[in-house]
Symmetry: C2
Subunit: 146 residues, 2 copies
Amino acid sequence: MTKEISEKKERLKTFMKQKGFKSTRQRDIIASEFLNCEDHVTAEELYKKVSRRHKDIGSTTVYRTLKLLAESGLATARVFADQLTRYEPVSEDEHHDHLICLDCGSIIEFEDPKLERLQERIASDFRFHIVDHKVEFYGYCWDCKK
Amino acid sequence: MTKEISEKKERLKTFMKQKGFKSTRQRDIIASEFLNCEDHVTAEELYKKVSRRHKDIGSTTVYRTLKLLAESGLATARVFADQLTRYEPVSEDEHHDHLICLDCGSIIEFEDPKLERLQERIASDFRFHIVDHKVEFYGYCWDCKK
DNA sequence: AAGGAAATTGAAATTCATTTTCAATATAAA
DNA sequence: TTTATATTGAAAATGAATTTCAATTTCCTT
């Protein structure tokens, strides 16, 4: 287990204690499995991974734990075109957006300062106070384009 | 009924004939009601509007007709943060994006050429062939900010 | 205009992701 | 260890959207 992941698990424990939540075997297993996989997983996908080794853990608990991770700030929930809720571990660095391949489903993260500036300009143009944005580009990645 | 709307209804008829679909009383009523309301309606919302005057029209038919309108190119389906499928009439002018107020739910459309150019640059950076994008800004409109 | 194939309709059933319920169990604080 | 409270998992419920199916309607063909 990398340093980064154990730090996150530590943060989760702190958050849970602070919120009065209890730390359980299931939550520990689910959080570890989640933090180890770098994908944008759905609850169902994570449930499959987890239940390979731990048949006693139910999917409901996976759903609940992912929500908890999102509330604690360790995960971000995202919904792309397929309408499934996906979770990704939160990283220190800046806000990023996504390129999604319509063929193989791969998701590429990117970050663009121009986009942030554009957002600010649009906000002032429309006298709108923007607190969040969703920018997704759909298309075909290099491999699938061929 | 404005000229624009009757033109659209004409286009719908042409499309349907071409596709071998039949034109029915229900479809006519639903399409008219849809083209008259400028909002981003959900199937359920439109069903409520329609069934006020036409109690015999079922919600299933509204769902089906909105899909048909989208296929015919007269409507665009969009999903915002609340996960409901909303439809908007297609207008001649360019692609636009959305500002969504988290308080009152109002949806402002905007169009920005810089965003289009940015998209092209990102596509070439990542050797990605972009065919569609989704750009949504969430926040608070001027009225709700107060 | 009448007949008949094929599409459409609406109600009810189904789907599928997600949430809720609830009785049994596990946790942590006293 | 006792006790209050949170958590768990199975099953039921939810809610938007789709499918099924028998009855009806549309629109060709004569």
